[in-house]
Symmetry: C2
Subunit: 491 residues, 2 copies
């Protein structure tokens, strides 16, 4: 257990919070519910962004930027959207401050009131479809495949670093298509892009599925999601991709002339992932000593710590360390050599365990004599000694192995914590004592879903896309089941 970090067993929620703060990922700011993403946390987010951005471009998308502000009236244009998104938002009402002649400081200038209030975007469908209206006349203008990296604001009452904050960073893709089929294909393709990223970079296994009616995006026909399981047995929705049908095109009157010259409304998708992924990354892998980062997203993959008694030893070790560093770097591995003299090796070991550096190398005087080096894996905490010969190839392979191993560990955990359940008593029992994903039949009604939620706080995470088409009876109502779904308590 690392200093100042609550153990998971003691209090999982507190462990998470301690870890995010102690590992220098983020902290709360002076503004309620808003966080400061600190350099180490931001470096991980930048790695995520770089990988995702490349994937978006490789699948034919371009980046653009739309305004932070949305006129209030825009929200009323799509009926479901206004219900889901126009409530807990930040509202700009004035555009000027003036000196407070009486008390000093500044006050809002009452003369500078906006005619129409502006909403800080909680999501950008409305402003973007209002813009697309001017860009689309004919089928030749389609598809439009745009992504935006942006900050958004949702005025959450209860906030948690990365998982739920008033302001967060995200990307939102917004595409426009000539046919329903093309839009559905896009929706599914982007879900696959997300799943690929979360599984193969973040090393977190996910279930791809459809959201139920009550859980889908406000304004969508279908919401696809990827669901991941955290170590406390709760689910986390890691990304969503929405098939919006013609809803926003109709709301903003976006029509195009097809090849036959006939006018039709445009088909839409939107999809997004956010800094919430940072929360998933922390919660999926880390332990009581600190972060465990998958090598592919670790800002520093290898740290070298010298162990010495005097300056002469340090100088000698440094020469070797610098050589090893440059060999590793030539293989594209990011390396830090920590030769700071005001911290002891033990302090450094704990620090890099806390920060989740995948591989730690230590070199002492005996290693120098023997041509060896000590290698410690962060994920398993195993230590071994080996020759300095051929080290860079070994480390390169080791990083791959750690990446795979972290994924497999999370995968096994999910397997062990996914339970097939066929009746209501069993459901409550499993949910209470074991948690995790519960796979069970559902009659497909919102009524049943709602009752289960009220009684247990568990929700339908998704209707898995690869679900089998078996028949069965709803574990709650006993009626014929429509789907086999995944239930869980969720973040």
């Amino acid at each position: 257990m690392a200093k100042g970090i609550t153990t998971r067993k003691e209090n999982y929620s507190q462990w998470y919070n301690d870890l995010v703060i102690k590992a220098d990922l983020a902290e709360y700011s002076a503004v309620r519910g808003c966080m400061v993403i600190k350099p180490y946390g931001y470096a991980i987010w930048e790695k995520m962004q770089a990988v995702l951005d490349k994937k978006f471009k490789d699948t034919g998308h371009e980046n653009a930027y739309f305004p932070l502000f949305i006129p209030k009236s825009f929200f009323s244009k799509e009926a479901a959207h206004v219900e889901g998104f126009a409530k807990e938002v930040a509202v700009v009402t004035h555009y000027r401050l003036k000196n407070d002649e009486v008390n000093g400081g500044v006050i809002v200038d009452p003369d500078a009131k906006l005619e129409e209030e502006l909403i800080i975007r909680p999501t950008s469908e409305t402003i973007i479809w209002n813009t697309y209206k001017n860009w689309i006349q004919s089928y030749r203008d389609l598809p439009i495949k745009i992504n935006q990296w942006a900050n958004v604001v949702r005025w959450e009452m209860r906030t948690r670093l990365f998982l739920r904050t008033a302001e967060f960073l995200w990307q939102e893709g917004h595409t426009a298509h000539a046919t329903s089929q093309e839009a559905v294909e896009e929706t599914e393709k982007m879900l696959d892009v997300y799943a690929d990223f979360v599984e193969n970079w973040m090393a977190v296994p996910v279930i791809k599925g459809l959201k139920s009616e009550s859980e889908k995006f406000a304004g969508a026909i279908d919401t696809y999601a990827i669901e991941a399981l955290m170590q406390d047995g709760k689910a986390l929705q890691a990304g969503t991709s929405h098939f919006l049908g013609q809803n926003f095109a109709k709301a903003f009157d976006v029509q195009f002339a097809n090849k036959e010259g006939k006018l039709d409304h445009v088909w839409a998708t939107s999809w997004g992932v956010s800094t919430r992924l940072m929360g998933a990354l922390v919660m999926a892998h880390s332990d009581d000593k600190g972060l465990v980062l998958p090598p592919k997203l670790a800002p520093i993959q290898v740290v070298i710590v010298p162990i010495y008694k005097n300056e002469e030893q340090l100088n000698e070790i440094s020469r070797t360390a610098v050589k090893i560093k440059s060999e590793l770097e030539s293989k594209g591995i990011s390396v830090k050599f920590d030769d700071r003299d005001f911290h002891k090796p033990g302090w450094k070991f704990a620090e890099y365990e806390l920060k989740g550096i995948p591989v730690r190398l230590a070199i002492g005087p005996r290693d120098m004599e023997n041509g060896t080096i000590e290698i410690a894996r962060r994920d398993t905490l195993e230590k071994s000694s080996r020759s300095q010969e051929g080290l860079s190839d070994y480390i390169s392979d080791l990083l791959d192995e750690i990446q795979t191993s972290i994924y497999q560990k999370a995968f096994r955990f999910r397997e062990e914590n996914t339970t097939e359940v066929y009746n209501w008593e069993e459901f409550k029992e499993v949910l209470e004592n074991k948690g995790g994903f519960i796979s069970a039949y559902w009659d497909g009604t919102t009524e049943t879903e709602e009752k289960i939620k009220q009684e247990t706080k568990a929700t339908i995470r998704c209707i898995p896309l690869d679900g089998e088409n078996e028949t069965g009876t709803c574990m709650y109502s006993g009626k014929p089941a429509k789907y086999k779904v995944i239930y869980a308590k969720a973040y």
Copy 2:
């Protein structure tokens, strides 16, 4: 002259606006003063970001993210800052909307009024120094060298795409140091980084200098700036770097224990460039046919246009074009092969001139027979024909030559439009009839500066860093001069 674009001679300001819109860089949004940055414009901005971001990291900076919102009271803490920055801002007063039961739609919920209003950041010194307070105890915590890529809002009344918009994108560096000297060195280093970027990537020559008292940043001790000259003879401030002294540390009570254990206030810098650079890029180089982009920032550096009468010819040309494309790409050159059949070559030529693609290649049936290719330079509009042999080396060199040539043209323009002036009549005459930079003696008083501004709208752009230490008399007041400065009308 390109279709729909006013010529520079006719109306420079309209030419700029037409160009930004027709070349698909940006457009106004439904929100007053806010722009949509379109994919082509954003692709250029992304290239700028990538180069700058690398330069910041190479000079030891890390990225982080601070909140969009700043509590209103923070602005009052630094006396000069509140005067300069707390006025034309977007003010959030409420955090919820509710259904309008009477008229439909949504209205601001009067019950959801914030206790303290939040300001959308116009710049982040206050929220960042309020945060640094908790990060800094001792000299070991220094320096802190952080950069943030973010959107900011300043409620400008008169807006112009990229040059002055209510919301804009920028980066803001905020550093904290143990000594004044280190902070000044940082300020100057970042000015050099900006100058290097603007000159060697944007191909725009700049003058590095200090701002006068009245033009400096609200809260700075010294503001350094780089000033560029646009084709209409007006100056554009392309980047600023501020030495903030201990002003913000004092305002937010940020002290550190030095090596001797004595408490002292921390020394600060901040520095930023914004999407305004996009405006400078357009205005510095482009012509009546459209954009002229420096190859280093052009999203597409080379376009290949096939010229054909039938599908057989197209097929044959395509094979060659694809081969050329891949050879160029292997040299790191970005290439588009435009084989769309619904546009004629002439249309495509005009389109790529408008978009400022540095090099256009055209291949027709005769080229196929002769093994030749037509090469057109966007900057000079020169065309030539050459063998397809060794083409990729030739194009690679040509792109370098264009980069240099664009810079040199802008440099010559600036030389020709910088005038040494020694008396007030001459000053007014040059400003009126020639414009450009005017180099003249100044007595160093705000009074003189203000009078010149009132009479002519010209301002002191900067006190050049490489200015000679000659003595002279102020061209306005006739008093002994303190500096020789650069005057101009400015964006």
